[in-house]
Amino acid sequence: MDWQSGRKLQQQEQTSLKVGASLRKAFDEMNGAGDGVRAPYTAVSEWLGTQKLDDLKRKLLEAETMFRRTGITFAVYGKEEAAERLIPFDIIPRIIAAAEWRRLTAGIEQRVRALNAFMYDIYHRQEIIKAGKIPEELVISNSAFVPEMMGVEPPLGIYSHIIGIDIVRTSENDFFVLEDNTRTPSGVSYMLENRETMMHMFPDLFARNRVAPVDDYPENLLKTLASVAPRNMDGEPTIALLTPGQYNSAYFEHSFLADQMGVELVEGHDLIVKDGYLQMKTTQGPRRIDVLYRRIDDDFLDPLVFRPDSILGVPGLFDLYRAGRVSIVNAPGGGIADDKAIYSYIPEIIKFYTGRAPILQNVPTYNCRKPDELKYVLDHLPELVVKEVHGSGGYGMLVGPTASKAEIEAFRQKLTSNASNYIAQPTLALSTCPTLVEAGVAPRHLDLRPFVLFGDEVRLSAGGLTRVALQAGSLVVNSSQGGGTKDTWVLQD
């Protein structure tokens, strides 16, 4: 395509954005700060220069047809029941250099170990509270804290075996962790299927770049799950993946992962507690399950302990878990580590448990529960991003720089009446990456979610899910808010 017209489009869009000055200068993954194509993108940039826009659009349609035929869809809550949608896919990859990835890897591993040490501590001796590093009430009266987990000994002392860490970039060297998803992070199937699709459509691109494979993820996941099987069992553990069912938004991923690992995909009503074990109802009668990779929330796990109206879980499951007769992955109660009110203490947490400074930075965060910080937030709403402490999926948040006056005033009301329910952060100039849009190729903001596994060792596939905000200037990348995805390449030296 005419690459220059892409540039022009980029300039038009950027000057037309009514956002803060900082956003206008967003770092571009391909073009840096405007000083030429960055090294990891050399081959892709050259390739892009030889492509015609219509051909690229045709390829995009082809990709969408592949996704729809394969059934890679997700349900949007609140829309027509069981409506299945495609997450928009962009064919221009997001590329990470080998050295950048090594740094991210070190930071991620440090974080995963620290977060799990924190959870173990919180559900045991609570040294970090005694040391005065975290206010007690922030933990104890936090709705993400699960008192039933006190004193429970999970295998290997691990709570969150699968963590999706949301990372954003603002310049050549600045990466920030936006969020640690320690409960049941989703999206890894897109990491795998996006790669499949790209390799199918653009084999020549892979011939020109040394892209690290990501298809070791299912094997790594299986090894991780097996490594946390109950200690007292003999033989190979039986593993099953618990899904809420096919109307759940992430059902495709549940069945995809079960298939890739070769484990049963079960629903709550397929399971019973019998003879002191968790069993699944098979064609040959009940069969024992040792490790349950659950993709339902804590609240629904066991109606006898958590929500009594849950039909997604299994009555009696939690007692078995406490007794060490079945392993639950991720463990209940892990939400305490990705709670947004705890988030601002993460650098402290990392130092406390690892004795070292965090390798990956946190975004500066204002806790609206603190009066002086609340005052600052109220005075600077147009510049800040305000999030609900327990929100997720991009719902219930305010992006100050792009919000209308009315929206800002509505949030001011909410903040004044229920301050402790909110945190605020400066609006980061998330990096952009060239993305195929209707008018051509234009920069769009993105983030990165690598999926790290923690069992007998830390395992990290070289890649992740890159989410991209498809609206010009938008900083909200969540798929539930119209965000799309890109294939994520980690280059090898």
Partner: protein, 315 residues
């Protein structure tokens, strides 16, 4: 394998087979309705089509009279008819999606694209001339799914439960056609003879795709007792009761070997298969064709229930 998985795979296969049978029955009914005939009654043929499809009660609770457009819509596109092609394809896809991990990619994609394409068809846009094309398409999609199954699936319980679903449904369908049409095969009708009967005989054979193969097997014109024999007892005819029961028997024995256990369903299938393997068409006519078919349908339903029981379809 989960009992729920076995149940879903079994019904998935039944729905795919049923969609194909619906298309075939619709095609045959439509051919007869198109024929020039004396007097009224051109629409009457739909009555037996609906009965063969097991849809008569549902149709008449919705419509007062037989009308070609209404019948076709009801058999192909009506979601309120649980056996319409649309309902079958939707149910097949729903079951397939629930058991995505048990299906190969080829199987899933053929199911998924069949549903996507069919649900995009606007019934109002289907003119009389286009109907055969739509019906051919349904049959070809069923064939594509079966082909994907046969070519790509592991020969384990996934395959065995799928085979059970396909052939129980097929046996049920062939038996139902015979149940509705048995009177045109009875001897006294043959005495009356005439063009209408020949049309009806051909229709029966067509509704199980056997009007050509009949001549290869029997080397003579349609004879009603031969037609009955062909559909009930012939081992080579792929939609006969006999060959369906051969396949069911193989699948159930494979399951018994795999799991190392037999159940009531194994005795039932052996008894019914023996009845078909040792049967003689003269004896069947002697003791009553209709009674034989009714008895078979009861046995077939019982077998389905026993399979569900033996393999914990409901947990």
């Amino acid at each position: 394998m989960l009992g729920r998985t076995a149940n879903d795979l079994y019904w998935l296969a039944r729905y795919v087979e049923r969609a194909e049978n619906m298309a075939r029955l619709t095609e045959v009914g439509y051919r007869i309705v198109l024929l020039p005939r004396d007097g009224d009654g051109t629409h009457e043929e739909w009555r037996s089509t609906l009965a063969s499809a097991g849809c008569a009660q549902g149709y008449f609770s919705k419509f007062e009279s037989l009308n070609t457009r209404d019948v076709i819509n009801y058999l192909l596109f009506d979601f309120s008819n649980p056996s319409s092609v649309k309902s079958c394809l939707a149910a097949a896809r729903r079951n397939g999606r629930a058991q995505r991990t048990s299906l190969t990619r080829d199987m899933w994609e053929s199911l998924n694209s069949a549903w996507i394409e069919f649900s995009n068809i606007d019934p109002a846009s289907i003119s009389a001339g286009e109907l055969p094309r739509v019906l051919d398409w349904v049959r070809s999609r069923s064939a594509l799914y079966r082909g994907a199954l046969l070519n790509t699936i592991l020969r384990n319980d996934t395959f065995f439960f799928s085979q059970l679903g396909t052939f129980l449904e097929r046996a049920d369908n062939t038996a139902r056609i015979l149940d509705v049409k048995y009177y045109v095969l009875l001897p006294q009708i043959e005495m009356v003879g005439g063009g209408v009967d020949a049309v009806q005989w051909a229709a029966i054979l067509r509704s199980v795709s056997a009007h050509r193969s009949y001549r290869w097997v029997y080397k003579e014109n349609y004879k009603p007792w031969r037609i009955a024999e062909y559909l009930i007892l012939n081992q080579a005819m792929p939609r006969s009761l006999r060959s369906s029961y051969d396949e069911i028997s193989v699948a159930l024995n494979d399951l018994a070997n795999l799991y190392g256990a037999r159940a009531a369903c194994h005795d039932t299938v052996a008894a019914t298969r023996a009845l078909l393997a040792n049967g003689n068409i003269d004896d069947i006519f002697q003791s009553g064709l209709h009674e034989f078919i009714e008895d078979f349908i009861i046995r077939n339903n019982r077998l389905g229930n026993e399979v569900a029981e033996a393999y914990h379809f409901n947990g």
